[in-house]
Subunit: 293 residues, 2 copies
């Protein structure tokens, strides 16, 4: 039996509709959520990402401004811009598009963003607060910016009715932007979590035991049908450009015959990342509104 | 065949000897490492901990001062004390003994400690930097305060010659002070990590596959011999007060017959916590020395 396809387009659309209501309610109270994006250089992929973020804001009625700086911008200039955005009351979220040119210290720049406007959730203080929070409901309830892609994965699972408590979740990849934070989020949802990576032995055996499998390693079609068990739920975070177009880390056509649910690439996790960024921006604006009230 | 017993007393002693040399070398350059401990209230166990830390400092030639405040101390008073210690050049490490009385906001107090003096590694910024670091050598090399008990576990493993890369490590417990940070440290040492907890199903089966088992759940003698495989390496972080005295989370007498190495309780992980606190204090003082040079 073929798997149910989890559509990130559909789930994302649903969340954006919910956000729209919140935004309208905020505007009624005199607060318009605002997002500033900062792009240094002219990397075409980054330009597309930033433009898409701007458009997504526009659609929902979020104010957005885009700061495009030349590739040779000095680090101090960039830090000055961020300092200004930190102080700007119109701006509730600041996103610096990565990667930055090599002459700029990325961690220094991320550190300079006011944690209360860090809608990417990359500031060490926010990472630390996220790490320390034990319970998923608290993560959502508190003024905490969850990292966008991992949070998007959890939304896909929850809104597809996947019960995570007590499940064996296996994560392929231990990156800071996906593998490690997804592990924390699954654990906060009471899953038993195993994190695999390039040094893992018997990877097939470990994957075969997974109730939920999250692939985030950047290797096209790495996960084959014989690596998963019947009924597994598969979240494919990979986006690999190949000759046959964009493909995920999972051999979708084969694995979907065994899985109970699976995300496609494109149209799975991808659309969720921007959506959760917008959600964080609205969350930030709501706090401003509370402070004004 | 009975397991090799990993003695935290011996490993700790060895590390403290190494620290003593570093301290003498620092003193030769005019820097005496200094640790301030802060205790609020008169909990007898906390008093013992703080006293032991003071004594350990004295033995190594670390300057220490103990601030004992009455139980009804106001939060603002405590924050003032910390602000003073943050500014005090004699002090390289500040340790606030937990738990604090209920009228004081623990997270606010930990947040108030200057991250560069946070030798417990509990400040969110330090937690975030630790989370983000990928490689164990970098964690050690950089100015990063690793949390003391988890770091002590890794030192016990490494100094006992346990190769972690590619090994299946299973952690029982997902606490902020042991389970989660131990997971990060084992992962940074290239182990494949599974984190189990109260909601985990088939716990026995998961434990039976472990090459390295870390128990940190606070349940006396919870891990039985039939839950582990022949040759497992066991780190027992539990310290449970029972009628038969202090016991760990592992049924030591039975499990030691199957394990290849095992830590006892007491005398295993316990002595390592203070040792790694002293190591962090010396690490902090070394930075001061570099700044002066």
């Amino acid at each position: 039996m073929a798997a149910k396809i989890i559509s990130g387009n559909e789930v994302g659309e649903k969340i954006r509709e919910e956000l729209k209501e919140e935004i309208n309610s905020l505007k009624g109270k005199g607060v318009t959520p605002g997002l500033a994006t900062v792009l240094v250089g002219d990397d075409p992929a980054s330009q597309v990402y930033v433009r898409n973020k701007g458009r997504a804001c526009e659609k929902l009625g979020i104010y957005s401004e885009q700061h495009n700086l030349p590739r040779d911008t000095e680090e101090t200039k960039l830090l000055e811009l961020i300092a200004g955005l930190n102080e700007d009351p119109k701006i509730h979220g600041i996103l610096v598009q990565l990667p930055l040119p090599k002459h700029i210290d990325e961690s220094k720049v991320l550190y300079a963003i006011d944690p209360s406007k860090d809608v990417d959730g990359f500031h060490p203080t926010n990472v630390g607060l996220f790490f320390t929070e034990k319970n998923f409901e608290d993560m959502i309830g508190k003024q905490l910016f969850l990292p966008c892609t991992p949070h998007g994965c959890i939304e896909l699972l929850q809104r597809s009715g996947v019960e995570l408590s007590g499940k064996d979740a296996v994560i392929l990849g231990r990156s800071n932007i996906v593998g490690k934070p997804v592990a924390l989020l699954l654990m906060a949802n009471n899953a038993t979590v195993t994190i695999c990576h390039s040094r893992t032995k018997d990877l097939d055996k470990i994957c075969q035991k997974a109730d939920v499998l999250v692939a985030a390693i950047g290797k096209p079609k790495f996960v084959k049908a014989d690596m998963v068990k019947e009924g597994v739920v598969v979240i494919d975070v990979g986006i690999n450009r190949t000759e046959e177009g964009l493909v995920g880390d999972v051999d979708f056509e084969a694995v979907k015959e065994k899985a109970s649910m699976i995300t496609p690439v494109p149209g799975g996790v991808g659309p969720m990342t921007i959506t959760m960024l917008l959600a964080n921006t609205v969350k930030s604006a709501k706090r401003t509104e509370k402070m004004m009230a």
